[in-house]
């Protein structure tokens, strides 16, 4: 079995590991780094529960092998409330009731973050498109879309403070 020396940044921290190169990024995050906020829902890119941010882009961590993240920066849900204070996305989702079972929530919040990084004031259609790779079976999405809108306004008022 081959070995791969993986170096990447995860939530701002440099990581160096020797891994089996057949591991998906998801496996390394969950099983080795114990960052279990990233979920597996389908293992084939249909549900988006495993979404993470890779160099400012949203990816399904079940669809890429960990070595593909070599030299890159990964942000997981655990990387958001670093100082113990919830960030605008997390606050907004809580406030509006966009969280039910919570299993899709980390992926949804990361999708929202990527969207707002590129587009601070998105329309409802743009929000719907940005979360179109993330399935939720509880909410019917209306509250999630609302949550992203609220996050956008919280972010606006906090401009400069937000890490995003």
């Amino acid at each position: 079995m081959a070995q791969f020396h993986l170096e990447m940044k995860v939530n701002g921290k440099a990581i160096a590991l020797d891994i089996d190169p057949g591991l998906r990024l998801l496996d390394v995050l969950r099983d080795i780094l114990h960052l279990t906020g990233t979920k597996e829902g389908c293992g084939e890119g249909e549900c988006g529960a495993c979404s993470v941010i890779l160099d400012d882009e949203l990816v399904d961590s079940c669809l890429i092998l960990a070595p593909q993240a070599y030299g890159r920066e990964v942000i997981t849900i655990e990387g958001l409330a670093l100082n113990g204070e919830l960030d605008p996305y997390q606050q907004a989702f809580l406030e509006v009731g966009a969280v039910q079972c919570g299993y899709c929530t980390p992926g949804m919040i990361l999708a929202a973050r990527v969207l707002l990084n590129h587009k601070p004031k998105p329309s409802q259609q743009e929000i719907a498109r940005a979360i179109s790779g993330n399935l939720c079976r509880c909410t019917g999405y209306a509250k999630i879309v609302q949550g992203v809108e609220i996050a956008a306004s919280i972010k606006e008022t906090k401009e400069g403070v937000s890490r995003a």
């Binding site: 960052l35 829902g41 997981t76 849900i77 655990e78 079972c101 299993y103």
Partner: protein, 424 residues
């Protein structure tokens, strides 16, 4: 409306902060160092007798600790919410996906290799996928008790004479499909022994029922089994049934070591309960004003290989077959039937969505026949104060459905351009 301090106010979820920060631990997130990995060997055929299970080659795989079959069940090998008809590990296959053997290994890769090396000798039986075929007298029995589990009847007034006098009679046949709940979290759990206490942590909607069935299957007193519900990533009725609980309990008890299991999406689809497919024959009688005079409904629900919540689902179907409409004469029969399909159980609405599809379609067809709008058809028949339901309950307190209908119609006019011509 007066202002209240609690009523009418949004309350933040207590588990919300943990969920938005990724800290909430679902079953598959639990990490017990040294826990063995469990994998289930599932049948690829739908109906068969298990003649022999040879695990000797599989046991030789490095990393494999133990392999369990029906012969290893210490208690009574059957569980189920309403009828105890589902074995934890079976000696008779009743659907594609029935559990035959359980592998405990040090890692997932060895467990998967072991699965491929277990030799199962089957005597295949003709599978029955169709409810009507399953109901025939000469159909092979999927369970000893026969294929028809239960039938429910709701009768009121005299349907035959109402049908004779009716000005409009509409008859339709409706079928609905099997549906997977598809909660985003697949089934998972861990188990370990705390001295002589078996502790199972799993994603479930039914820890108390789980406890009863696990104790029964493992031959343990109830006070030696503890089920802890982990944060659960959706259920929608699908996590009311036992999934991983007995496997976890069996392996932890027999091996005295911590164990862990997690289904992938494929296994979750194959092995867990579904929404019941319904086969509905629906006759509606009305006068020329669209006022309902009678309905005659025959419902068959395909509960698949195991009963699960099937009997209750079909009971609900019978009770709700008339929808929210007052019908003076009612003749409803609902049957719950075994087949060799995946088993069906509880899913949001519990048999009523299927009935709504048939009932509301019939309402549209009657409206068309008497030339009134679908919304007017409903106005003329909707439950009012004092109405008597199909089950003879007099609704003499408040009835909100009429208001709901008007509010829904108003909203529909707002959001659906082009609607409104029917508003007579």
């Amino acid at each position: 409306m007066p202002e209240y301090s609690i009523i009418g106010k949004s309350v933040q979820r207590v588990d919300g902060p943990r969920k938005v920060s990724g800290q909430a631990q679902y079953a598959a997130d639990l990490n017990i160092p040294g826990a063995l990995c469990l994998k289930v060997l599932r049948s690829k055929v739908a109906h068969a007798l298990v003649k022999e299970i040879n695990v000797s080659e599989a046991l030789k795989v490095p990393g494999v600790v133990q392999i369990f079959t029906h012969a290893d069940i210490p208690g009574i090998n059957s569980y189920g919410i309403i009828i105890k008809d589902q074995p934890a590990l079976t000696n008779k296959v009743r659907f594609k996906g029935d559990a035959i053997a359980l592998v405990a290994a040090q890692d997932e890769a060895s467990a998967i290799i072991a699965l491929s090396l277990i030799e199962v000798t089957l005597e295949e039986l003709p599978p029955i996928y169709d409810v009507k075929a399953a109901m025939r007298e000469d159909a092979p029995a999927i369970h000893d008790r026969g294929n028809s589990i239960s039938a429910y009847r709701v009768k009121k007034g005299n349907v035959e004479s109402a049908l004779k006098q009716a000005e409009v009679i509409i008859t339709g046949s409706y079928t609905t499909q099997r549906i997977e709940h598809c909660y985003i979290e697949t089934e998972a759990g861990v188990a370990y022994m705390d001295n002589d206490l078996l502790v199972i942590k799993a994603g479930t909607q039914n820890p108390h029922y789980d406890r009863r069935d696990v104790a029964r299957v493992l031959g343990l007193p109830m006070n030696k089994v503890r089920i802890i519900q982990t944060t659960t990533g959706g259920g929608f009725g699908g996590k009311l049934d036992i999934s991983v609980q007995c496997f976890l309990g069996l392996a932890a008890l027999k091996l005295g070591r911590p164990v862990k299991i997690a289904y992938d999406r494929h296994e979750s689809f194959i092995s867990t309960g579904k929404r019941h497919p319904f086969y509905i024959d629906y006759t509606t009688a009305a006068d020329k004003e669209g006022k309902l005079s009678a309905v005659k409904v025959r419902i068959v629900g395909d509960t698949g290989a195991y009963a699960s919540y099937g009997p209750a689902t079909l009971l609900r179907a019978a009770v709700h077959a008339t929808g929210p409409y007052e019908v003076p004469n009612v003749d409803i029969e609902a049957s719950c039937v075994y087949t060799n399909n995946p088993f069906s159980g509880a899913m949001r609405g519990f048999g009523t969505p299927q009935m709504a599809f048939a009932c509301e379609s019939q309402m549209d067809l009657v409206a068309q026949a008497v030339n009134i709008s679908p919304v007017e058809m409903r106005r003329r028949n909707i439950f009012q104060k004092g109405a008597v339901t199909a089950t003879q309950q007099k609704l003499d307190a408040s009835i909100g459905i009429g208001k709901t209908l008007e509010a829904a119609w108003e909203k529909a006019l707002q959001v659906m351009p082009g609607l409104g011509d029917e508003n007579i």
